[in-house]
Point group: C2
Chain length 435, copies 2
């Protein structure tokens, strides 16, 4: 390695990830210099209030409230403050001053990604964001580079650790959603206001980023179909177990060859317990990728956590620094494919519908007719009647599995069934994925 | 993307991977051009005999026996011929003429890696080799880049699909090694001469490559401890099942902080069935990586196959081509850490020893003394005596699990036990990994 002047690194934000990045940069200074071929000098950490109590790993003398000056003095800017503003503005300033930027800000990328990437391309700077999706798991780089010569057909990801923890607890202990959420909160896996996680806003942002990389297409966040896990019942979890399934919150990015577009959606789904994603327990994340030539791949690891995410940030920082030393552009994404992001109504998936119906002759035929009249083909029917102290219940539970059907057709079926005299209640409607 | 002249790509070799690379380059020409910003023009395919029967995907007019001229005309050379020579010589010629090289040749890298990487660095060219380890699974790039700011502490990989298929068959059907091998051969998973796979030569080459990247250290192939799967018995597989383990051929690259060095080894080992590696079935591969900050990561997918490996080759080709368009060096590895590769004798692992001993008073104490005299600490003992038609056997089966012990101490124990009067036979000695 040739000698090179020290590179000036500015850190924006000193939260759980920022403090770990600062610590690792300081502790591993010599090692990082050996890997890059130049010293990485942490010149400052921009915060809102230098006097706030914070992690002891943060050297106080590096703190500043003057982010703008810090950005202008830096060779590489690492944005770990989160949120849309002023993060967006700071990143644009950094790019426009010629600095490469490393960020873990998924909300910003999912919302203003095109603007940021366009700016980077215009000025010849680079934007690295491995840490924005699935924490320490290298998934962005494989999609941007390793699979660059292949065609991704589908991504199914467990990309939110909080919801996977909650669903896994419900699965292994029989807890209700509320009980599992309370436990996740007490353990620090879920926030006091868990909305961003349990309503799948976080997963939807990650799905938008993954889909844009996989399909070389701009994916506006508002086109991502989103359904959280708050309505998943203990009964659904138990029924899934009986059938050899497990319920996961899946972020699915799919190329729909028939419809010449892509589907990007996040929702709870049944998946076979023997599927590699079915074995992802606790707060772990995993991203399952199917590509034409590569076949099935899976990337597994810790999806969150300050130090794990810091690992991904440092990997990007080393890449950016090597690029600085060696010159020449680094990664570049393009949106040349420009595929249509299709609405959920036209997306075909298998469904499982569970309902309580009158236990009378002809009821099954009536229900089957509702499905066939909407061209939804039934694959399996399981009927069970509860017998309590020798007395046979007057209602039967029907679990109906469909072949692939459009969301619109299925919703029509559900609506019609819910108005039918022979149906008492519809207790579960859930997609089946992973086939 | 700016306009750029077409890049001239030379392919060396037209076997199962080469023919798929040629096919994908031709079929996806427009898509690849959009991703790279320049057309990728396949200018020729070097083979030994242009008239040999070969895959219909190979355009005959591109075949040539004049590899040297082809190399000199190319911007990027893709070496997929395998073997040490002339592959080594061709790659050196390509690098010295300023071309970047993409290769899937693990044997060559494990044997002559340092020479090739030194040459590449001297001339400012790049050598890409994602396809050399674990087929389509992106593992090289994550190690070279994503984890560049982290410290890898251990890698455990299932990196040979043939042996994983054989062990998985033995596990799921109760087959012997010979039966499972015969089936693997009939299905095309194993070659007529299976030595390279079942004696773990192939896995050892991959272990050397992984360890050199993970620990920034030259790892000569002869320092990789290697033990194949030919001696794994159906009884060992069944005993593993009873204990909640599964037997896998693991390639292990480990930083030994105590001894200030690394261990690189390939051998069969017991691993917990609930470990992510325990669930890797059939001919699939997976690489489990532990790093200080990132924690545990796993990369899973098809480890071999022409089209899957071609996906990895194309990913590298796109990287090399983008670098050509944009200028500037790409990846660079260094061996700055220069750690010692320690011999197996000083490596501490847990062991499980199974033996037949006389079923007499005092025998267990005698055996326990042998372990303790070599400072090998026993963690568990299970004793069972076979009773056949009401007659109790005169020998007992002892299954002894140890705490971590050095290979040398354990071998001493086994040697002493084998000479002991109270021991009839030692039926199994196997390492336990993944703790």
């Amino acid at each position: 390695m040739t000698e090179y002047r020290p590179l000036k690194i500015a850190l924006l934000g000193a939260g759980s990830v920022g403090s770990q990045v600062a610590r690792l940069m300081i502790e591993n200074k010599a090692e990082l210099a050996a890997r890059v071929g130049a010293e990485l000098e942490l010149i400052g950490i921009a915060v809102r209030d230098v006097n706030s109590p914070r992690n002891a790993d943060i050297p106080k003398e590096l703190l500043t409230t003057d982010a703008q000056s810090l950005i202008l003095s830096a060779d590489i800017v690492v944005e770990l403050m989160g949120g849309l503003e002023p993060a967006r503005n700071y990143i644009l300033q950094a790019l426009n001053s010629g600095s490469d930027v490393v960020t873990a800000n998924k909300a910003l990328l999912a919302t203003h990604g095109p603007e940021l990437f366009d700016t980077a391309e215009q000025v010849g700077a680079q934007l690295y964001f491995e840490a924005a999706v699935a924490g320490a798991i290298p998934i962005i780089r494989p999609l941007r580079e390793s699979l660059a010569g292949d065609k991704v057909t589908r991504i199914m990801g467990i990309v939110n650790g909080t919801t996977n923890y909650i669903l896994d607890q419900m699965d292994s202990t029989g807890a209700t959603f509320d009980q599992a959420l309370a436990e996740a909160q007490s353990l620090g896996y879920a926030e006091a206001d868990p909305t961003a996680d349990v309503e799948a806003y976080d997963a939807a942002q990650k799905a938008a980023i993954l889909a844009s990389l996989a399909f070389h297409t701009e994916v506006p966040l508002e086109k991502v179909y989103r359904e959280g896990i708050t309505k998943v019942t203990a009964e659904q979890i138990q029924a899934a177990q009986r059938d050899g399934y497990v319920i996961k919150l899946l972020a699915i990015c799919e190329r729909l060859a028939d419809a010449d577009g892509i589907s990007v959606r996040v929702h709870p789904a049944l998946i076979d317990r023997t599927h590699p994603l079915g074995a992802v327990r606790g707060a772990f994340n995993a991203v399952f990728v199917e590509a034409e030539a590569a076949g099935s791949l899976m990337f597994y690891g810790a999806g969150a956590g300050g130090v794990q995410t810091a690992s991904a940030v440092l990997g990007d920082l080393v890449s950016a620094a090597k690029r600085h030393v060696a010159g020449g552009p680094g990664l570049a994404d393009s949106v040349h494919a420009n595929l249509e992001v299709l609405p959920i109504d036209v997306v075909n998936t298998r469904f499982q519908v569970t309902l309580e119906a009158k236990d009378e002759p002809g009821v099954l035929a009536t229900i089957a007719n509702v499905f066939s009249s909407r061209s939804v083909s039934i694959e399996t029917v399981e009927q069970s009647v509860r017998v309590d102290k020798g007395v046979r219940s007057k209602t039967a539970t029907l679990e109906i599995g469909t072949h692939a059907a459009s969301n619109k057709a299925l919703q029509d079926v559900v609506q019609t069934l819910s108005e039918s005299d022979v149906v008492d209640s519809i207790t579960s409607v859930i997609r089946v994925e992973g086939i």
